[in-house]
């Protein structure tokens, strides 16, 4: 087991999974916040467009999206990238972004609109009302589901091997097919995933408690 954990290929797969998850999380937070803003405050056309985005990506399997994207982005088609890791990063970001959109939207809507009216009455501008009244309350609602999403994202990243990206699970597959042909690489991968997801879960619950001050 220790020879697997120290195998450079295994380490590379581990680092790849962390980088892929972190990158996709950041990108999906940006996508989700932007799209959610449009979904709440945008005009009717933009709102229905964001609805199409959310429902399209939430309602097809992630692996199908990735297989499709890898071919679509390939040099002889759109010519964006031939690197399966980039295709996986793109796919995971857009997919998770759809979920983040819905989480952020529900966070914004959880704040009673009469609070904005009250803030405006007290002389705050619309932006100030959002910044000082809506945002602090919305964040508290949004943190637990976002934590769940980020843990799900780490686990979803295991699908990247399906388009030949060398992530943690793919590395386990490669090592399993080499002598001494044991099941050990998968056990190593299992523990390696835990070393990412469990600290993440602890961090989320800690953040949740710190943000709960006003309740």
């Amino acid at each position: 087991m220790s020879d697997i954990l120290s195998d450079p290929l295994f380490v590379r797969g581990y680092v790849t999974t962390i980088a892929l998850s972190a990158g996709a999380l950041l990108a999906s937070l940006v996508i989700g916040t932007l799209v959610a803003s449009v979904r709440v405050w945008g005009g009717p056309f933009l709102r229905s467009l964001t609805g199409v985005y959310v429902e399209f990506f939430r309602n097809t399997p992630l692996l199908v999206q990735l297989l499709f994207l890898a071919v679509l982005l390939a040099p002889s088609n759109l010519g964006v990238t031939r690197d399966p890791l980039v295709a996986a990063l793109f796919g995971l970001s857009v997919y998770t972004g759809a979920y983040v959109t819905e989480v952020v939207r529900s966070g914004i809507l959880s704040v009673d609109p009469r609070q904005i009216e009250a803030a405006r009455t007290l002389g705050l501008s619309q932006a100030e009302a959002l910044r000082h009244v809506v945002l602090p309350q919305a964040i508290r609602t949004v943190i637990p589901p976002l934590g769940n999403l980020s843990i799900a994202l780490v686990k979803n990243s295991a699908i990247a091997g399906g388009i030949a990206a060398t992530d943690l699970l793919q590395v386990a597959r490669i090592l399993e097919a080499r002598p001494p042909f044991t099941f050990d690489p998968f056990i190593a991968a299992l523990f390696a995933y835990w070393t990412i997801t469990i600290p993440l879960a602890l961090a989320v619950s800690r953040l949740e408690r710190r943000l709960a001050f006003a309740r």
Binding site: M1, A164, P179, F181, I187, W194, R209
Partner: protein, 304 residues
């Protein structure tokens, strides 16, 4: 929230401690390939002992010609996506190819039905050890590492690993040219290891099947696909703008895989192969299935 978490964490830690301890502490009779005889492995999973690091499942006993005749079915693992050797014809769902026909010949000699199931590269050895198949006839290269795990018949075909690239690609002409290129192949194959050894700077992109590797070559994600020439011939059929580059750079002897210590079954299978070679059936099936893809003589290769 944290309180809810504490017992869960304790559980996780406990499981982690149990599972890693036997693995790190001087690996026991866990790896059948490196350690003692396979017979010691079923003992390791007996209920009296604590669970050692799980390895491959090995079901006890071997198939013999008699046990197969008693059962009435010879089960073979073959490829379903390699034209010429094992290929499911999409128009009638028949499994066609040299490997599939050899299985049918052996079944006929035994007087039983042949049952063909799909064995992809990575699950061939597990299928044998779990006794889900009696034989694996699946473009299966004989090598020393595998000989430690399973038994092989005498070789029935000698392939060589080659390189497939687009016709207009002039940069790739030999295995050394693969350095720095995107090279596609399949996980769990000898092809992957061979490229890693002979072109260490190549960027290996590994798909579950060669069909997906072929697609990746076609749309430009790969510069080349490298595996046994006979598999590549099937891809040329699908993608006519590709061709083989350079000469084969390895020798792959294909054998029929079966469970370790299958002495009787191996003798039977070898006899059938020799008999087929003698009465012309071997050459007939060869020409029918792979004659168009190779200019080699349709004879049984000598025992290695």
């Amino acid at each position: 929230m944290y309180k809810k978490f504490a017992p869960l964490m304790a559980l996780v830690m406990a499981v982690a401690a149990c599972s890693t301890a036997p693995g790190t502490g001087g690996s026991p009779a866990a790896s059948p390939g490196t350690g003692g005889s396979p017979a010691s492995s079923p003992a390791a999973s007996s209920p009296a002992e604590p669970a050692a690091t799980p390895t491959m499942v090995i079901v006890e006993g071997v198939s013999t010609p008699e046990s197969i005749q008693a059962e009435g079915t010879l089960t073979c693992g073959v490829k379903f996506d390699v034209v010429g050797f094992g290929f499911r014809n999409p128009t009638n769902n028949e499994i066609e190819g040299f490997d599939a026909d050899i299985c049918r010949e052996i079944a006929e000699e035994m007087g039983v039905e042949a049952l063909l199931i799909e064995a992809v590269s990575a699950n061939r050895i597990p299928f044998i050890n779990e006794r889900r198949v009696d034989l694996v006839i699946s473009t299966f290269t004989i090598n020393e590492e595998r000989r430690g795990q399973i038994d092989f018949s005498r070789p029935y075909y000698i392939a060589g690993q080659s390189i497939l690239a687009k016709v207009d690609n002039t940069e790739i002409n030999s295995v050394e040219d693969l350095n720095g290129k995107n090279v596609c192949s399949a996980t769990g194959s000898t092809s992957e290891t061979n490229v890693r050894e002979q072109a260490p700077e190549a960027n290996l992109v590994l798909f579950p099947t060669y069909t997906e590797a072929g697609q990746a070559l076609d749309d430009g994600r790969c510069d080349a696909v490298s595996t046994d020439d006979v598999i590549l011939f099937g891809l040329i059929d699908a993608y006519p703008d590709t061709e083989l580059k350079g000469e084969p750079f390895t020798t792959e002897e294909y054998g029929i895989g079966m469970k370790k210590d299958s002495t009787e079954l191996k003798m039977f299978v070898d006899d059938v192969l020799v008999e087929m070679d003698g009465d012309g059936r071997f050459a007939e099936l060869w020409n029918e299935n792979i004659g168009a893809y190779t200019d080699k003589e349709p004879v049984l290769p000598p025992e290695s």
